[in-house]
C-alpha cells in the first residue's frame, strides 16, 4: 500500500524522490524497490485514486509539455500530446508493470507513441505504419548481459580516453563516477537522483558507444 505521506510535499525542483526501481539482478533483494511514481501508478491502477494521479500529473505534465515543444516546435500540438499521453496514463495505469521498467520510462514511451501517431495522422496516412507496429509494449524480456566486464580492461588501459569526451554529457558523468571515482551504481543513482536502472542503462550505452568509436559500427 502507498504511504500517503509519500505523495505530498514534492515539487518540481526536488529530485530526491525520483524512483529507484529496477534493482540489479546481482543484488540480494529479488523484489525491485518501488519509487514514488511506480507506487503512485499502482494506486491509480487499483483505486482510481485521483490524488495520486494529480501528483503524477503535476510532475509529468509540464515536463511532457517542454518535451512536446521541443519535438513539435509549437505549444498547441505539445499540449495535445500532453493531454493524450496523460489520459493514457490515467486510463491504462493497470498496464504499467514495474518489473519491466520505471514509471518515467513507461510515460515517455506513451508520449513518443502518441507523438508518432499525431504526426502520421497529420499527413493523413491513417492506413500506414503505426506506433503499435514499431514499438512492442515492453514485451522484450530484460537482457542482463555481461558485456560490460570485458570493457573494464580497455578502460584501465586508457585506450578509450580520447573517445570519452565525445560521450553525451549524461553518459559521461555516470561513467566518470563509476570508473574514475569508483562509486557503486547505487551511490551514483542516489547522488544524481536518477533510477538505478538508468545508471546501468547509461553505462551500457556509453560502453557500446566507445566500442563503436574504436571498432567501427558493429558488423
Amino acid at each position: 500500500m502507498l504511504d500517503p505521506s509519500g505523495l505530498t510535499g514534492h515539487h518540481g525542483a526536488d529530485i530526491s524522490h525520483l524512483s529507484t526501481c529496477m534493482s540489479s539482478s546481482n543484488e540480494i533483494t529479488p523484489v525491485p524497490a518501488l519509487g514514488q511514481w511506480e507506487e503512485a501508478l499502482g494506486v491509480v491502477a487499483v483505486h482510481r485514486d485521483k490524488k495520486a494521479y494529480a501528483e503524477l500529473f503535476s510532475y509529468f505534465a509540464p515536463r511532457l509539455k517542454a518535451f512536446g515543444i521541443k519535438m513539435f516546435g509549437n505549444e498547441q500540438q505539445a499540449m495535445e500530446m500532453v493531454q493524450d499521453t496523460m489520459l493514457n496514463v490515467w486510463q491504462k495505469a493497470a498496464l504499467f508493470d514495474a518489473s519491466r521498467g520505471c514509471a518515467s520510462t513507461w510515460i515517455f514511451t506513451i508520449a513518443r507513441n502518441v507523438r508518432f501517431d499525431m504526426l502520421r495522422k497529420k499527413q493523413s496516412r491513417k492506413d500506414d505504419i503505426s506506433a503499435d507496429d514499431l514499438w512492442e509494449n515492453g514485451d522484450y524480456p530484460e537482457q542482463e548481459g555481461n558485456h560490460s566486464q570485458q570493457w573494464d580492461l580497455y578502460l584501465v588501459a586508457e585506450k578509450v580516453a580520447p573517445y570519452f569526451d565525445a560521450l553525451p554529457p549524461a553518459q559521461r558523468l555516470v561513467m566518470e563516477k563509476v570508473y574514475l571515482e569508483e562509486q557503486s551504481h547505487q551511490e551514483v543513482s542516489e547522488q544524481l537522483g536518477i533510477p538505478l536502472g538508468t545508471v546501468k542503462s547509461r553505462i551500457r550505452l556509453a560502453l557500446d558507444r566507445l566500442r563503436e568509436a574504436i571498432d567501427g559500427p558493429r558488423s
Binding site: G12, L18, K50, A54, F57, S58, Y59, F60, A61, P62, R63, L64, K65, A66, F67, M79, V82, Q83, L87, W90, Q91, K92, A93, A94, L95, G101, C102, S104, T105, F108, T109, R112, F116, R120, R125, D127, D128, I129, D133, L134, W135, E136, Y140, E142, Q143, G145, Q171, I194, P195, G197, T198, S201, R202, L205, D208, R209, E212, P217, R218, S219
Partner: protein
Amino acid sequence: MAHVVKFHPSLSLLEQYSEGTLTPEVALVVAAHLDFCPHCQSLHRDIEADLACSLAQQPAAAAEGQDWQQMLEAIVGTTAAAPVQKVVANEVSLQVGDHQFKLPRSLQRIAQKRSKWLSLGGIATAKLPGTADHHLSLLCINTGTEVPLHTHKGMEITLVLAGEMVDEMGRYAAGDLIINTPDHTHTPRNLSDEPCLCLSVLTAPLEFKQGLTRLLNPLQRFFY
C-alpha cells in the same frame, strides 16, 4: 531463429528509432531487425530509459493555473479503459510461390497491405504502403538468382527476413541489416538452396551498371 545476427543498425540509428524521430519506413525496418536481435532490443530499452530519465529530470514550472486544472479534471472525469486483453493475432505467414515464410511481429499487420507479387527472372517483389520519398517493399530472391550489379541513387536499406544471400561485402542471413549509400555498388546473390526474403527501403531507384543489364534501367520501377 538460432542464427546470430551479425549486421546491426548503428547506435545513432537506434537512438533515432527509440526517440521516434526516424521516418516510419526506416523505423519499421529497424523494428523488424529488433524482432530478430536481442542485443539491439536491450540497447533500445537502455536508450528509452536514458531518454525518459532526461525528460523526467528537466526543470519545468509546476502545473498550476486554470489550463492545467481543466485538463486534469477532464482526464480524471473519464473512466478507466476496459482491461485490455492481449490480442493474440493469428500469426500471418507469407506465401510466395509455393514457399511459406513466417514474419516478425512488426510486419504482421503491414504485410497484409502488400500489393500483388510481380515476378521477373528469379526475383519477386511486392510493395508495402510507403511514401513518395521512401519506397518499402518485400523482395524474394530465388535460389541461384542474382540481382544484377547495381548502384543506388539514394539510400537502400535491406533486412533479410528469411534465407541467405551474399554480396561483395559479406554473407547475410535472417535479421541482418544492410545499408547501402550512393557510393556502394553490389551484386546480391542467393547461393543457398532456399529462397531469400528481404524487406527493403529505397529513397531512389536502383541504377544497373553492366552490359546488358543496363537495359534493365527502364525497368527500375520494378525494384522501386
